[in-house]
């Protein structure tokens, strides 16, 4: 995403008023993006009559299909169609005094919201974020003031509830200017807790969040759930690189091609996979305990020690030039790969700034490329001293 200056005043309000009266007497159908949520979505359980027409009803208990969907999204299978219709939903048996909770139309966001509200009734207003989660959509502005104001008007929220309060996830705040929403729609934005899990306590406290509810953590569990998607993406690349390096290693050993493959080729595959493991699994898991602030440094050390361990397990002969060159090659290559993967984990982390990432990349990327290329050169060179 590109940088943009956001001083809070620059919200693009163009088109808010011309588009708002979607229920005008125009003979054409309403703006397609402002259609009500469909009643026949697989997770809907019947509907509720309301002044704004029929509203799909959903349950706080997630079904097996919902849970499988979450798992598939976490490992990157079919994630792109993982959406719910934007619009209004009834959770349980809401009435005119029930709270209104706003979320994104990424199904995992929607499910984590309703799943947190077991035994409660509420209105859920889903914004059209193109299937992107609240935090990322807020950064892009699709979970934003304009969409919220338009959606409030499109679903006729003022006819559904008597009060003027809407609850947004705190992580939607980068996209929404609460004071402008009040001015444009009459509804007052309350920023709820960061984690949907804290919603019952927040609601019971009269829409008051504790400090702990307002602080974004990056716990072991939160880091761990991000590993599969990173790993799957990286293993796709590894699946191309490993066969190539496997074949090359057949030419680098001291024996014939096939015995070399069995000895060095298998080690090569193990080394590449270990480097991926160090960068995409070990680094996220050990993040707070690895030295340094820059992710590349954390990843470099994870890769470095993994390489040493692997070489030790293999019992590499550091007395021969072949062994020294090969050993150094793998230390360099594995550290570089691990550092690069760790650096890419900045995007999944919850505390890195763009300014910081750019600063890190200015020195880290050249170092990674340099280490990687020198590693490959040493590795190829080791073949001449076999």
């Amino acid at each position: 995403m590109t940088e943009q200056d956001s001083t809070g005043k620059k919200v693009n309000m163009q088109g808010v008023f011309p588009m708002a009266p979607v229920s005008s007497c125009s003979p054409e159908s309403p703006h397609p993006e402002m259609m009500p949520a469909r009643l026949d979505q697989p997770f809907a359980e019947g509907f509720m009559e309301s002044p704004s027409g029929r509203i799909p009803r959903v349950s706080p208990s997630l079904r097996t299909e919902d849970r499988i969907g979450t798992i598939k999204a976490r490992i990157g299978v079919g994630r792109m169609v993982y959406t719910v219709d934007p619009g209004l939903y009834a959770l349980g048996e809401p009435d005119r005094n029930s709270p209104v909770l706003v979320t994104a139309n990424y199904k995992m966001s929607f499910d984590s919201l309703r799943g947190a509200l077991l035994g409660r009734s509420a209105w859920i207003l889903v914004l059209d974020t193109k299937g992107i989660n609240v935090w990322c959509a807020a950064g892009k502005g699709t979970f934003g003031t304009e969409e919220l104001v338009l959606r409030i008007a499109a679903v006729g929220l003022k006819n559904i509830v008597e009060h003027k309060d809407i609850i947004l996830p705190q992580l939607g705040a980068p996209g929404v200017a609460a004071h402008l929403v009040k001015k444009l729609s009459g509804f007052r934005v309350h920023y709820g807790p960061i984690r949907a899990h804290d919603l019952p306590a927040y609601l019971d406290a009269g829409m008051k969040a504790t400090r702990q509810m307002r602080t974004k953590t990056f716990s072991l569990k939160e880091r761990a759930v991000l590993i599969p998607i990173e790993l799957v993406g990286t293993l796709r690349t590894a699946a191309i690189i490993i066969p190539i390096m496997f074949l090359v290693s057949g030419f680098l050993g001291s024996k014939d091609f096939v015995p070399n493959l069995l000895k060095d080729g298998v080690f090569t595959a193990a080394a590449v996979l270990s480097a991926v493991f160090a960068g995409a699994v070990l680094t996220p898991l050990l993040l707070p305990y690895l030295p340094g602030r820059a992710f590349s440094v954390k990843g470099f050390s994870a890769g470095f020690f993994t390489a040493l361990l692997l070489l030790f397990l293999r019992g590499i002969d550091m007395g021969s030039l072949h062994g020294v060159l090969g050993g150094s090659a793998w230390v360099l290559m594995m550290s570089a790969v691990s550092a690069y993967l760790a650096m890419n984990f900045t995007g999944a982390s919850t505390y890195t700034s763009l300014s910081g990432v750019k600063k890190e990349m200015r020195w880290a990327l050249p170092v990674q490329i340099g280490a990687g290329i020198s590693g490959i050169c040493l590795w190829l060179l080791s073949g001449f001293f076999a």
Partner: protein, 106 residues
């Protein structure tokens, strides 16, 4: 768990205390307790914790906070350098052409 903190002295966050009305909207939306109330004005207490999400500046009715907003995602920066807009981070998915990107982070 130790508190995770990223690089020092890089965040672009600034507060214009003269314009601050002390409403506290920014304190509520900041996910990392970067700001605190000092009397009737807000001030920065932990600049290095700022992730430049822009929630505070967006929600400041007085326009007293400015920050260069962005997503701290190396994959997105690399894709930007390569001239690709789609692939990389979740935060740079092209909604009009979602199939153009591989699955990443969130």
């Amino acid at each position: 768990m130790r508190k995770l903190s990223y690089l020092k002295n890089v965040a672009t966050l600034t507060v214009d205390e003269a314009r601050c009305t002390g409403c506290g909207a920014c304190l509520e939306v900041c996910p990392h307790e970067v700001l605190r109330m000092n009397g009737r004005r807000v001030q920065i207490q932990d600049k290095d914790a700022c992730m430049e999400c822009g929630a505070c500046s967006r929600n400041c009715p007085a326009g007293a906070i400015s920050v260069q907003v962005g997503v701290g995602c190396a994959a997105a920066v690399i894709n930007g350098m390569l001239g690709r807009s789609g692939a990389g981070c979740c935060c740079s998915i092209d909604p009009d052409n979602p199939s153009s990107q591989g699955p990443r982070c969130c």
